[in-house]
Subunit: 113 residues, 2 copies
DNA sequence: TCAAAAGTTCTGTTATTACGAACTATATAC
DNA sequence: GTATATAGTTCGTAATAACAGAACTTTTGA
């Protein structure tokens, strides 16, 4: 938690899949990759891709993962994060949820001009 | 401002140079690229690189740029942004400033094993 | 011990980033 | 007008990182 940085967190959240995963974890408190493909906001993603997204969230310090049998259970580190970064993460997720309430659109890759 | 997204903003801020520029703009309300090289938190950057960072901040919707003679004057779009995203951006910049108050270290490229 | 399910690592391809060089735009001097 | 200087953008390319299929590892349960 010492070398968790603001920039690192923002980078992790800058990916549509990762912020969605975190937002789901923030509500569900537990989720796993499951099976070969999993649906994240209307997009089926291969487990290798999801594995890497979870790894980035983990390395960034946003989530904690624990092995339960063959599965991996994930949860946010929200208490520590709030202690360290104040209301930042909550306000990000709030804005993200509000945004998706306005426009019900599917995750898509970023495209710049 | 319609197609400004949470992910887009977080992506823009995930770069150490860009979040620093925005944080400076949030205080100074005006800054320009200036001369060939400019010092951003202890790193000299070529103007081409800075130009692109400013362009990303602009395209993301975080800043507004106006030509004043040969110079470009930049300022944050904080009022509109706060209306749209609530306390998100302020809490990010607050956390960023607090982080840099704790550890006085120079901007460095992200390295992930 | 074999098979199945859950994840991770490896690998080639594709897309992004960084920065020097070349280019554009504005202002001031001659 | 032409020249020159300053501010900033675009282009080209080499280094970096992301994506996803294939192969591998780990745990469980028959």
């Amino acid at each position: 938690m010492e070398d968790v940085t603001v920039e690192g967190i923002l980078y992790a959240f800058s990916n549509p899949v990762r912020i969605r995963i975190y937002a789901e974890l923030a509500v569900a408190e537990c989720a796993q990759i499951c099976s070969a493909y999993r649906d994240i906001a209307g997009v089926k993603l291969p487990k290798s891709t999801l594995s890497q997204h979870f790894a980035i969230l983990r390395e960034t310090g946003l989530i904690r993962s624990e092995r339960k049998g063959t599965e991996l259970h994930n949860e946010t580190r929200c208490e520590e994060l709030e202690k360290r970064f104040g209301p930042m993460i909550d306000s990000i997720i709030d804005a993200y949820i509000a945004q998706n309430a306005r426009s019900r659109k599917v995750i898509q890759k970023k495209k710049r001009k």
